[in-house]
Every structure is written in C-alpha cells, then in structure tokens.
Symmetry: C2
Subunit: 430 residues, 2 copies
C-alpha cells in the first residue's frame, strides 16, 4: 500500500511539513501504546495481531466438508458481513462461486434472494459472535425454513462462526455443523482478517493465505514513525485534518470492485471514532461515477472535507475501439482503464487547485495480497486516529439504546427505551 | 409522500415552530419565483413541470419495436443513469426484465458484465444529452464491439436518448435507431421523470404512467406555504438546519429497493446545492444495516448532522418462524418487516433523545406511484433549498476543470488543466 499525502500540504484545511514533525512525536507515543496492547492481547488491539494469530489452515479445514458449492450465503450484519463482502467483491474475478450477503431484514429483498438462489447447492454461513443478534438470527430462521420447504437438509449445508457459547454454538453442537470461533478481543468491525472475514473467501476457494500475507506486510511497517507506515500516516493525517475542520472524509475508490471496501471503511471509521462529539463522517463515493455527482460539492461546497482517492497501479484493461465520432477520436486506442486513470488524476488535481485536501492510496493490484494490505492499513489508521483523539476506539456505546428500544417494541421485554418511542413529537405535512 | 418534522423541533441543531413561521414567509416568495420559472419554461425550473409535459405515450411508442427483451443495458453516467436506476430498483419486483447500468469506466466490471449478459436478447439504451460524454461514448463503443464480436446486429438492439444534434443523434439517424429526445431545460440530475429516466422502465414494462401520476400528485401540492407541500417543507427545513450547522444529511431508507434512490438523491442534493461554500453533504446510509455501522457516529459524533429516515407504510412481509432459541422467542410470529419497522422507530427515537435532528419521510407503498411522489418531492425540495440559499441550483461549474484535464491527459487537445496535473506535490509513504 502506497500513501501520497502531497495534496494536504498546501490546502485548506491542510497541514504543513512542520505539523507532520510534531505529529510524528505523538505517533511514536501512540505506537508504544498500540504495541503494548497488541503484546498483551488487549481488547481491540488484538485485531492488529491477526496476521500472525489467524489460522488459515484451520479455516480451510473447517470449510473442507463443503467442497466447492455453487454459492455461499453469508447471514450476518455489520462487521459480521462487511469484511467478508469486501474480500469477496475485490476478488470476484478469482472464483466461480457466487457470494451473497443477507445483512438486512428487508422482506422483499430476502424473498427475491431466496427465490434466485440454488438452495440445494448453497452453503449458508451464519455469523454472530453472541448468537443473539436479532437481524441475523431472524434471517437464519427464515433461510432455514426456506431450505426445509425446498426439501433441502439445512444441517448438511450450514456453517457457523460464533463465540464459545450461545445459540449458534449450541446449534452447531446439536447438529454437528462445521464451525469456527470468533476470536477473542477482536471487535466485529476489526474482524475482516479473522475467521469472521475469511471463511466466506475460503468457501469460495479464494487465496485467503495471500490476503493474510498482504496484511502481514503492512503490519511489518508499523513503527514509531508515520514516515514508515502508510496506515499510521493515513490515520494521523486524517486526525490532524479533522481537528482543522475536515469533518467529512469522502472515500472514493476508482474501481467498482472496491465499492464494498468503501462501505467496510465507513463502518470502521464511523463506529470506532464517532464518539464524545469527535469523529470524521465517512462519505462513500465511487470514481469516476461520482465525479458526475459529488465533485461539484467537494470542490465548491463547505470546506469541511477530505477526499481519499484509491486505485490499483495496474489493472487488466479493455481497448476502446477506434471511432470517427465527432470530437471523440482521442478515445480510440486508449483503454477504459486509461480513461479511468486520467479521470483519477484529473479529479485529484481539480481538488488540489481549489485547495481541497486529498490523499492518494494505491495498491499494486487489486488482488488477494493488495486487499490484505488495504484492510490492515486502514485498521492501523483507525487505531492510530483513535489514540491521537483519545477516544475509546473499540466500543460502540451509542448503539445500545436503539437495540433495547427495538426489542421492547417487539415484545421482547420491558424497556424504558421502548416507552420513549411512543413519546415521539409529530409535525406532519402531507 | 408524508413528511414528519417533529424530531427537528427540540434538537440541536434544531428549529422552532416560530422558525417555521418565519421560514414560511420566505417559502411564499420562493414559490412565486419557482412558479414563474415553471411558467416560462426556464432552464431547470422546467423540470418541475415534467409531470405535465412528459409524454409517456411517445416513450411507449419509441420502445415498442423491442417488445419484451430479456435485459436492458443502460449506458450513461450521473443523471443519465441514476434516475432510471432508481425507478428500476424500486420496482424490480414488478418485472422479469433485468436492468443493468454501465455508469463507470471500470474495465474489470465492464468485462464481467458483458460476459454475463445475454447480448442477443439485450436492448442497449444509450443516454447522453450532448452525445460526447467521454465515459458513456467509450462504454458504448466497447458494448457495440462486443455485440459485433458475438455476431449480434447492434443496430437492431440499440436505443438512444439524446439531444437534437450530436454524435448519438447522427448515429440514430444513420442506422434508423429508435430514439427519444432529452427535453430542453431539464438538467441531467432532474431528468428522472423525463424520457431520460423513464425509457428504461418502459423497456422493462414498468408502469411509468403511475410514476408520472405519483409525481403529478406531489406537484399539485406545491403552493406558497411549506405547510401544504412535503417537498417544499423538506427543502426549507434542511436549509434551515444546514444554516444552523447540520452540514451533513444522512439519507437512510429502510428498504433495500431504495438504495439507488439514496444515490440519486446524493447527486441531486450535492450537485445542485454544493456551491459558493454552501451546501449540505449527502451521506448515503441504509437501514437497518447501517445502525450497525453509522449510528454510533450519528448519535455521539460531531453535531453537524441531520438524519432522514425513509420507509413505506405498507410492505409484503415474511413471517419469522417460531423458535426456541434462547432469548429470541419474541421474534417468532413477528415478520421481518415488523422487525425492520421496530428498528426504524427505535433508531428515530434514539436520535431524538440525543437531540440529533431527524426527519421521517413515508410513502404508502414502494410502488410506481410512490416512487413518483418521492422523486418529485425531493426535486421540489432541492429547488426550494436552492432558492432559499440563493445559489445557482441548475448549474455545475466546478466539474468542468476536471473534464478538461482528463481530456488533455488522453491527448484530446491542449488544456492548461492537464499541465497542472503534472505539477502535483508528492509526499509518499510506502
């Protein structure tokens, strides 16, 4: 992973090389804290050790009974789905096994998905650490029923990733389902490089070993200076820019296969850093498409933004046929990828000349190694940002209220939160 | 379309009922300006007259030669694709004709799409007002070549929506392709309810007449008071909240089929209002999924946000099977949709109790009429916001720089912008 922060040095908000030097002193201290946390396997910090602690052989062995299915359906929500989805999407050109994700409780969408899936050839990968996540368990119950209705023995096609106890563990024990354990100390949004994020790829026959190797290569760069680690540097620079008013971070990959990555990043960034009035709002964007959508705002709107542009340095290209269309002859002989790269550089420069801070992240290629680098680099960035901001990176206290309220509304117990829902102020315009 | 702004009245940022009264005086003046613009068919304002001026019979007649294809491939970018994609996604349960969109120049994605499409049964719907949009024409050239390579006569399966002159118009004339005209005075991002947004739906056999009827019902509510028009009220309230610091608007539908709507809205909002240092950044989110991703930030992060929650009042549900899973018996007998609605209300309340402003938008159902209401309502909202903010709602001057730079980089002429790209400051960390 390559990071280029040249375009935050003469922008507004922006930082100077002097800022970077001062920041580097704080990065050194933060790194010591992070390294100690990794060493002691502290909650959250343990995620940064995954390139060493994850056991890909164990994952391979666990999914081995399924052979090569036609499709994998992962049932999970939030961090239980996004890491796997990111890896599957980035590497979709490497496999014929389709990956689907049931990560919402939308009846229309669920019905359409269940109708389209070859249920008898689909492995269901259920992921929930606690085994009580309402959305995931509800979806699993629906999927299981659909399989039964289709005459499919779900116990032959279900795979479970969960904690040491709870509903899903009991279910796995009872029906002798292949299973993996969610590692301790790894919050869901940091679990892409663990059993949680890799089992789906293993079921698809993807090169999960190279994903882990890519992550390990980025881990090897962690040190007490941001000059050595793209991940730390990204986190530290984003933190500095946010302090100077860049409260939005538009994550804009120039590759359709990284669209899920932007979504994964949005969870990682928002849920880890959005605390105590701090945090930077991730805005998902996609190049070149969103040049025709968001670029006007980024260049001419409020100066509260950082734009992060991501691309591979190499990709398979498709030639644009020669043409005599008026004014378009220049396209003939170029490739679609060349056009995309020209737009990447043009957008980057168009932001810079307006003084809008932007950062370039590049991978050699979007392959298993590259996605491993990117995932690990962004996790290291998040932890570094959290240290510098002094927030509790690995918790998410603000989501509990709503969970209790929803449960209460459905008759799952007495919760004051559910009563508060009834007190809603109404002011309706029809 | 129903709007409920109760949850912006006791929040921070927030407004009071007195603010609304003062705002209403400005809405009256703005409405007069808008109505005059509509009457005179002024650029941009003309879009709000589309429910009356669009000719669905003409659209039906233009696509009639294609009968019922297996798939429709729309080649366009930005406003030339998003409106059609929004309608197709919302109504995907109403048709067996697949809709695909080539709205980026990603070679990997394009190759995968062309490989998966039944080319001999696919209608290609090329959309570009000017007929010179680089991405769209490059993609069209690639698609045409792929059809020729597959032995398919592309001239029998191409459909064009473009202006009165230019490359695509010439091509349509030369090969006698069925075509439609992009209406005058309607910017791309406001063209969902025109030939641009409706031809794809017509090719899919969708009820585009009801889409227009839904829009017309919302148009009928436009008047000199925000109390009568959900669209105007949404625009006016968002404007007021942005002035008070809500610089981000998280658009969060609770329906997978409205995910494209959030993307369409993001273009409409950002490109229309992101000007002269003003504008509200649209953040796309999806309920319930993003409760496990963005809600922590929305509740506990910087108080610069408004959250807009969208849902249908009715939807087909799927029963969650009864279960003896520990602690989950309350789910049995409920529906997935009930769970989703409980989460909607819980999230709304969880924001309100923290004082985070949020707005509820509801439709009776996500059907053709409903999506028409929603699209028109949001367009009216955008125009109202633009009037109140005093910006040039219908232009996008900040995107020209990058277009010239990209063209120059590809050898399409001499542009100073392309030279500026070479001056990039570099500061690389590997």
């Amino acid at each position: 992973m390559y990071l280029d922060i040249g375009n935050v040095l003469e922008t507004s908000p922006g930082i100077t090389e002097e800022t970077l030097e001062r920041l580097d002193e704080r990065v050194e201290i933060a790194h010591e804290r992070i390294a100690a946390g990794m060493e002691a396997e502290e909650h959250g910090y343990a995620a940064l050790s995954l390139p060493e602690t994850v056991d890909t052989e164990e994952i391979r062995a666990a999914v081995e009974p399924f052979g090569t299915p036609e499709a994998v359906l992962t049932v999970g929500i939030g961090g239980s789905a996004l890491g796997a989805a990111t890896i599957s999407a980035a590497l979709s050109d490497q496999t014929d096994v389709e990956a689907h994700f049931l990560d919402n409780v939308d009846p229309e969408d669920t019905a359409a998905l269940l109708e389209s899936l070859p249920l008898e050839e689909t492995v269901v990968n259920v992921v929930s650490r606690s085994g009580t996540t309402a959305e995931t368990l509800a979806n699993f119950l629906v999927v299981r029923q659909a399989m039964e209705d289709a005459g499919v023995d779900w116990t032959e096609q279900a795979f479970v990733t969960t904690g040491e106890e709870g509903n899903l563990r009991n279910l796995a024990d009872k029906h002798d389902l292949p299973s993996l354990k969610v590692p301790d100390g790894v919050p869901g949004r940091f679990s892409a490089l663990s059993t949680v994020g890799l089992a789906c790829g293993a079921l698809q026959g993807l090169d999960i070993e190279s994903v882990v190797a890519g992550a390990a290569s980025e881990k090897a760069k962690l040190s007490g200076s941001l000059q050595n680690s793209p991940g730390y540097a990204y986190g530290a620079v984003c933190y500095s820019l946010a302090e100077r008013g860049a409260l939005t971070n538009a994550m804009m990959p120039y590759a359709e296969s990284l669209e899920y990555f932007a979504e994964w990043f949005a969870q990682l960034w928002a849920e880890s850093l959005g605390k105590e009035g701090l945090g930077q709002t991730p805005a998902r964007a996609l190049g070149a498409t969103d040049q025709h959508s968001q670029l006007q705002l980024y260049r001419a709107g409020p100066r509260d933004k950082l734009v992060t542009l991501v691309r591979p340095r190499e990709r398979e290209d498709i030639d644009i046929p020669e043409t005599d269309l008026e004014g378009l002859s220049y396209l003939g002989g170029a490739g679609l990828g060349e056009l995309l790269d020209a737009e990447f550089e043009a957008t980057e420069a168009s932001l810079a000349v307006e003084g809008i801070p932007n950062i370039r992240i590049e991978l050699d290629r979007i392959d298993a190694h590259g996605i491993g680098e990117l995932l690990y680099g962004m996790e290291a960035a998040t932890v570094m940002y959290g240290e510098l901001a002094g927030v509790s990176t690995f918790t998410q206290p603000a989501v509990e209220w709503g969970k209790k309220a929803a449960r209460g509304l459905l008759g799952g117990g007495e919760f004051a939160e559910a009563d508060a829902v009834a007190d809603k102020l109404e002011f309706t315009i029809e």
